[in-house]
């Protein structure tokens, strides 16, 4: 099967993120993905785009975040690109641990941030982060499952 790809881009503003989410919902429906997978993809792309806006760009609102969605028939691959400050090499692994390393009984110390990358790693089948000459790429892949009857 030929791989189909769509590219989206937004200015680095939080109020633009729902536009990306809405576009993804439409694409996932068109690809006939189960609702649970659609929700997972929408959530993970939202996390990645917000991560670029808040951390890579430090909320500079005039930069660009690009999202490329590819469907090769067996999986959906999404690459989120920014040209801001890259993440440290160990960030993905570190965040996965840190996000759940709290004492639930110690309410005052439960973190209010830092869950986004851990969520992405839990919901997607593979996650990779690459720093390339033309930007930083968070690439995530979700295997396609047939819709539930």
């Amino acid at each position: 099967m030929t791989t189909k790809s769509i590219q989206l881009a937004i200015r680095s503003r939080l109020e633009n993120v729902p536009q990306i989410a809405a576009a993804l919902r439409g694409l996932c429906r068109a690809a006939q993905l189960p609702l649970e997978d659609c929700r997972a993809i929408e959530l993970c792309v939202t996390e990645a785009v917000v991560n670029s806006i808040e951390h890579a760009y430090g909320r500079d609102t005039e930069e660009e975040v690009g999202v490329t969605i590819s469907d090769d028939g067996t999986s959906i691959t999404i690459a989120v690109r920014d040209t801001g400050t890259p993440m440290a090499a160990d960030t993905l692994a570190r965040k996965k641990q840190e996000a759940i390393a709290f004492d639930p009984a110690d309410v005052g110390r439960i973190p209010t941030t830092g869950r986004g990358l851990a969520i992405i790693q839990s919901y997607m089948d593979t996650v990779d982060y690459r720093i390339e000459p033309d930007g930083n790429f968070l690439v995530m892949r979700k295997e396609k499952h047939p819709p539930e009857e």
């Binding site: 729902p18 939202t46 996390e47 309410v107 209010t112 986004g116 851990a118 969520i119």
Partner: protein, 110 residues
């Protein structure tokens, strides 16, 4: 996102309708903080009409819980949909929040 807020006895029941995410999380936080400033410290968040929540939204729920706890009050949740319940389990927040299926059941516990 819309917030429908009603006081039932001394509990503020806040129904969150739509999406709770980075772009609008401050609205919920401000609603809770405004009531805490008036010494209203009991909150029940109804998530039955919540269409989407991301980690920013989860962080906002935790922040509101921390504020209520610090004020000597409580913040509990009702009508957790399956996709949110899964997200709570993934992030271990299922061990943090008291969650109820029905409002009437939750209101008895304050």
């Amino acid at each position: 996102m819309e917030l429908h807020i009603e006081a039932i006895d001394d509990v503020n029941v806040i129904e969150i309708i739509g999406r709770l995410e980075a772009a609008n999380r401050d609205a919920l936080k401000k609603a809770v903080e405004a009531r805490l400033a008036e010494a209203q410290t009991k909150f029940l968040l109804d998530l039955g009409q919540l269409d989407f929540i991301d980690s920013s939204g989860l962080g906002c729920l935790v922040s509101c819980l921390r504020s209520a706890d610090r004020a000597g009050g409580a913040l509990k949740i009702v009508a957790l949909q399956d996709y949110v319940a899964k997200l709570f389990e993934t992030t271990r927040l299922d061990r943090v929040f008291e969650v109820f299926a029905e409002r009437s059941q939750a209101l008895k516990t304050f």
